[in-house]
Subunit: 337 residues, 2 copies
């Protein structure tokens, strides 16, 4: 797998990353929300030990209760862990690999959430990696599994395969032509959902969305993934059509927006995260449409490098909003020059 | 004298140009608004002939009724002629020198308006040039002059010396701190007036103002000019204090505005005249404060180079607003790169 923030994926690729997450629980142990602290931390240790015993070269583990809160936020910004894992920080841990393409969250909503993320639209590869890790762990842990229902999970929507497949996708033209609602309705009808790029209940920033399956019961993993990839390709086509339409009718206005956005990102002295993300979306679209040439890797890494938690973790606490805005401008200048 | 649009005046100079205008009329001839077309055009020929007979190397003359309307607008954009002269185009003419620092308007409100413009705050030099031309013409034309009232003019406010002295001044900080009204009240109390940079009834663009005397009766030319220069120096000090205040309290915000403005001017694909002038004011302030370094000559010449009449006269008629906005961006890019 390829870390999506470091990927120089093909320029016309409007899917940034593909993610697979498998929900698993250990038989005979209450779900995390019913576990006391000692029980939960004990389970965490057990899972970490059993996984790391022959994977300790590429993987590290973090117990959130021992870790700085700010550092936890940095992992979140990188999409390595979820908000729920942070909320459960008194009992939660995670294991991740050096490339930051694999993350095993422990005591999130379920005992175990195996997550794999790779660059571009490549759910099959992400699933194949998640499946390998799942097989390995299944030999060492006794999973809660029901013959007809499948894997048992804390929330009924995850029962079955326990699989959620999702892609992070850049949809500026569908957004600006006010068609997100329309796309959302179509996706809902086929069991998919579109959300902010950090998943349920998160804001849409930089015109980045997450499209994922809602139900995991009744379809095989392969069919779920095939289904999602098919629909995502449809959304990609719609986005490209919307872009072509803008280009045909408002070519100069579009180029103006893109060129101005890039030059502001390269010249500002202070800038908010929100404004920077908006401008980065314009620049990304410019790259995806072949209007300007900037390495995608730079644009992808900026998505988290300019976030407040990452800035604070690099530059120290006690920074005012203005301080952060000044540092953000410097990071943008250095990265984009 | 130095053409203000071509001057690389010292960078901290916030006065772009100084202008003198003398109103004169020919004895025994009705004022232009009472003259019939033949009479007016005859007078025009008479003045032009008597002036050009020994000045034809450096000066040219234009009869507005023979000239393209658009070209008349170009002269207006360069501050060479007034709106009133254009309105009188059926009977009006003007003589101007190669450097475009001298302009003699014929059949404006008065038979003759001698105008001299030079770069920076230098009313004395502009007056001295206007005075020389006035002396020369007085030998050839019989001026309407009253022993106790002085020069007679179509409008009573010009009776006396017939002199109007004015400066074009850049006041972004006084403007942004909402103190223009205050400055205007003080100026009115000492017989001065502040207006848009094209004079009476014109819009303020690019934070450029014209400060001039209102009354010409009762003071000598020297005292009028001394008085105006003294007050203008006071306004300059107020503007500089307001800038220092912004710099002390909002240094990064100020630098941000200046850097963004410059980079938008250098990168836009289409831009309106109004927006470009606003951004140019920010850039000009940055130069005047020593924050960035761009030749003033470029900024000054852009003030008319990006105006719609000048664009049309260069690029041809039939341009849409969008066409002009695209051409304007190109001119800005070429000039500022």
């Amino acid at each position: 797998m390829i870390n999506w923030t470091k990927s120089s994926s093909s320029n016309d690729d409007i899917v940034l990353s593909s993610r697979i997450r498998l929900a698993r629980n250990v038989k005979g142990t209450p779900f995390p929300n019913k576990l006391d602290k000692d029980g939960a931390r004990g389970l965490s240790k057990k899972i970490i030990d059993s996984f790391l015993k022959d994977n300790n070269e590429n993987f590290s583990s973090v117990n959130l209760w021992e870790n700085d809160k700010l550092n936890n936020r940095v992992y979140y910004e990188k999409h390595l862990i979820s908000k729920k894992l942070i909320n459960n920080r008194e009992i939660s841990s995670f294991i991740y690999n050096r490339d930051e393409t694999v993350s095993l969250m422990i005591n999130e909503e379920d005992h175990l959430r195996i997550q794999t993320i790779t660059a571009g639209l490549n759910l099959k590869e992400a699933y194949s990696e998640a499946d390998k890790i799942d097989d390995m762990l299944e030999e060492r842990l006794d999973y809660a599994f029901h013959e007809s229902l499948g894997y048992l999970t804390a929330c009924p929507t995850n029962i079955g395969t326990g699989l959620r497949a999702s892609v992070m996708i850049h949809l500026p033209a569908i957004t600006s032509s006010n068609k997100i609602k329309e796309v959302s309705n179509i996706l809902n009808r086929v069991g998919l959902v579109i959300r902010g790029s950090y998943g349920e209940g998160t804001e849409v920033l930089s015109n980045l969305y997450q499209i994922s399956n809602q139900v995991t019961l009744g379809l095989s993993e392969e069919d779920l993934i095939k289904n999602l990839e098919g629909i995502v390709n449809e959304v990609i086509n719609q986005e490209k059509k919307a872009r072509d339409n803008i280009y045909e009718n408002y070519r100069y206005e579009l180029e103006d927006k893109i060129m101005r956005s890039l030059s502001i990102l390269k010249s500002s002295v202070l800038i908010s995260n929100k404004e920077a993300l908006e401008l980065l979306s314009n620049v990304r679209m410019g790259v995806e449409m072949g209007i300007i040439d900037i390495e995608k890797e730079k644009l992808n890494s900026l998505l988290y490098k300019i976030s407040s938690p990452v800035i604070i973790s690099e530059e120290g606490k006690g920074l005012s909003e203005k301080d952060k805005n000044i540092i953000r401008s410097k990071i943008l200048k250095e990265t984009l020059r």
